[in-house]
């Protein structure tokens, strides 16, 4: 009896409180920190100007893991949000489940095909239909250096692995932690991406995109793991579990010499009132110049049943060059379309945009394995497992290469 009452009451309450109105967009995302939220507010205000309400649905944690769990529950319940912040293969997986809407109308009207790099379209389109609006492109093969610490070594910006090792040795000799790093699986994997890429674009593609067992378990992979082990020796003892922004802070205040991290790290330097080129230096991971590994935040648009003008309008707003510029200046990333003027960006940002355009033109723009842009989540995590285990000393390099083959196979 009580239960029936409860259910009855609940149904009524649900009707009253209701889901979003027809003219609202409900946005599931994990951009909850000050800068990101401010950037999203630009989008929100833009939509408000068109009479579209914004129902905020933030779920932070684990680089979107918590949000993805929430999303799964929402979709299973038949109550998908309008737009969801999403990365790489997650988009493709959801598209394959047939859960996403269709943005072809707005994409055609605004000519997205011409301005979005092909490598990105891979993730924004499914079966030739636009399903997501890319917000930004992060490139992950950056190294952030403390300028003073670099100068103290008397060496220049390293461009090869050997030079990098020399700089790291010198920094260590100067009594600082040479490599600021946080021991979390995805951070380990971010470095590993760059290390693998530094052994050649073909090797990267063969290992991470094609998942070729010969590449995954071959001599080059052993070499990559050796390099990881070398890098591990420059990290302080207290690295395990450290958040990446704390590692950035170490570089900023001179405790550490450099950090290997995606371009979102730049935000930390800028917020600490550091100037690119004067206080800190941004370079591509030595040996990867001319190539870019990227990840791209996109708003995947879910099929909410029937046409949703608000959804289309939101997609258009996301792709608006002025939003792309405003958002990415704050976020440290570069715009997802190649025709956005670079005036508002700083030196590192300008370099990033130029690198992106080059790499795109030369076919050296690759999805980042560490950030789910090279293969599906299962494989990504299988790679994490091996990389992290090796970085924490569980495997030697040869075993790690063997394990890599097994792990990837068992995840397929």
């Amino acid at each position: 009896m009580t239960i029936r009452k409860l259910l009855g009451g609940a149904a009524v309450a649900a009707m009253i409180s209701g889901a979003a109105y027809a003219e609202d967009v409900e946005v599931l995302h994990w951009w909850t920190s000050g800068g990101e939220a401010a950037a999203l507010n630009v989008l929100k205000d833009d939509l408000a100007g068109q009479g579209i309400g914004w129902v905020d649905m933030p779920v932070a944690g684990g680089g979107g893991e918590a949000a993805m769990t929430t999303l799964r529950a929402r979709v299973t319940a038949g109550d998908a949000p309008t737009a969801v912040q999403m990365l790489g293969f997650d988009i493709k997986d959801w598209a394959a489940e047939g859960a996403l809407g269709n943005l072809n109308a707005v994409a055609e009207a605004e000519g997205w095909d011409a301005v979005v790099p092909t490598a990105l379209q891979n993730f924004s389109k499914h079966d030739g239909n636009w399903i997501a609006a890319p917000v930004n492109v992060h490139s992950t093969n950056w190294v952030w250096m403390n300028k003073a610490a670099l100068d103290a070594t008397g060496l220049g910006e390293p461009t090869t692995w050997e030079e990098l090792v020399a700089v790291l040795d010198a920094m260590q000799a100067n009594g600082i932690t040479a490599l600021g790093h946080g021991g979390q699986a995805w951070q380990d994997a971010t470095i590993f991406d760059a290390v693998v890429l530094s052994l050649g674009d073909d090797f990267y593609k063969s290992a991470f995109i094609d998942l070729n067992p010969d590449a995954l378990g071959g001599a080059q992979m052993v070499e990559a793991f050796d390099r990881m082990a070398k890098l591990r020796s420059y990290v302080d003892d207290n690295f395990s579990g450290r958040d990446w922004n704390l590692a950035s802070a170490m570089v900023i205040n001179g405790e550490a010499g450099m950090q290997m991290m995606g371009d979102w790290a730049k935000g930390e330097f800028l917020r600490a009132d550091q100037v690119p080129g004067e206080d800190f230096v941004c370079i591509r991971f030595p040996g990867t110049q001319g190539s870019v590994t990227f990840n791209s935040d996109q708003f995947a648009m879910f099929d909410t049943g029937g046409d949703s003008p608000a959804q289309q309008a939101m997609a258009a707003s996301v792709m608006n060059p002025s939003f792309q510029s405003a958002f990415n200046v704050v976020k440290g990333s570069v715009p997802a379309r190649t025709d956005v003027p670079n005036d508002a960006f700083d030196a590192c940002g300008k370099k990033g945009m130029a690198d992106l355009a080059d790499a795109n033109a030369n076919g050296r723009l690759h999805g980042s394995a560490a950030h789910g842009h090279a293969n599906p989540a299962a494989v990504k995590n299988a790679i994490y497992d091996v990389v992290t285990a090796h970085f924490n000393g569980e495997f030697d390099s040869a075993t790690a290469a063997e394990e890599m083959v097994n792990a990837v196979e068992s995840a397929m």
Partner: protein
């Protein structure tokens, strides 16, 4: 002879049915939301479900894969270490505190909530404080260094081999007070005359507790064991907040394993298989307990 049907007492008939009627929503709820879902999970474990449930049967492939995964074995090993230490230490601390508190302690009323309150807090809340406290760079080790004890070293949370013990430490912190409350309740329920009789028999305090009191606390031990063991198997927030499963995957437990395979790795079938194993384990502990409990009550 009076007629048998002089009074068809509708209300009496109803009275027979009301209890069952009133109970039925709860039973229905449990059947659907617990057992229905368990069956669903068992079913999923035999499918190739990845991101969302799929209905393609693959037999025991998920179990094969599961037992082939190193991370799963790590999780099992960790659970064994974690659960046994956690249960034993919680029980010892809980019992000790309960016995000490039962000595007519002044300020018992103040101490009890202090021991109990960790149970009130979620690890989402206290996780950060613990992470800090255990972090050698900013926590206890650093503080000791600042206080002049330079050689002090406490970096377990960063050590692959010791990190699981920090999880035990935090878990003990959270639940030992609750175990204390259970034992205290048990102690307060013991007839004082038995204790007096034992003292007259010349039992020392030590042997009084060892020979008389602790055996009388058997039901409290049993309840504590059941509650602790299921908390150990379900431990999730704790690991996520404290170590995130690291360093590496050194502190992975079955619950975190299951969550990550089901929700972040898009291998729902494998995740479901691990859930089935967990459920089986819980059932193996619970069913004998339930059986004994319910039989005794008859």
């Amino acid at each position: 002879m009076a007629h048998h049907s002089t009074e068809v007492d509708f209300k009496t008939k109803l009275q027979d049915w009301i209890p069952k009627l009133v109970l039925s929503p709860s039973v229905a709820m449990v059947l659907v939301f617990v057992y229905g879902f368990i069956i669903f999970t068992v079913y999923l474990s035999f499918t190739d479900s990845r991101m969302l449930p799929s209905y393609e049967m693959v037999g025991f492939a998920n179990y094969d894969r599961l037992w082939g995964l190193r991370a799963w074995w790590t999780a099992i090993d960790n659970l064994f270490v974690f659960a046994s230490l956690y249960i034993v230490i919680c029980t010892i601390i809980g019992l000790t505190l309960a016995i000490l508190l039962d000595q007519k302690i002044r300020g018992e009323g103040g101490l009890r909530p202090i021991y109990l309150y960790p149970m009130a807090l979620s690890f989402i809340v206290t996780g950060t404080a613990w992470k800090w406290f255990l972090d050698p760079g900013i926590g206890l080790e650093n503080t000791m260094h600042l206080w002049g004890w330079e050689s002090f070293k406490f970096n377990w949370i960063k050590d692959r081999d010791y990190a699981i013990y920090t999880v035990v430490l935090a878990a003990v912190w959270q639940t030992s007070g609750f175990v204390m409350a259970m034992f205290l309740a048990g102690l307060r329920g013991i007839d004082n005359e038995i204790l007096k009789a034992a003292q007259i028999d010349g039992a020392s305090n030590w042997s009084l507790y060892r020979r008389i009191v602790i055996p009388l606390l058997r039901p409290a031990f049993l309840s504590a064991f059941v509650i602790l063991s299921h908390l150990a198997i379900k431990s999730y927030d704790l690991v996520i907040a404290l170590t995130g499963g690291g360093p590496g995957r050194a502190t992975e437990l079955p619950a975190t394993f299951m969550y990550s395979y089901t929700f972040t790795r898009n291998q729902m079938g494998t995740g479901a298989a691990s859930a089935v194993i967990m459920l089986t384990t819980i059932a193996a502990i619970m069913i004998p307990y339930l059986y004994a409990e319910l039989k005794e009550k008859r």
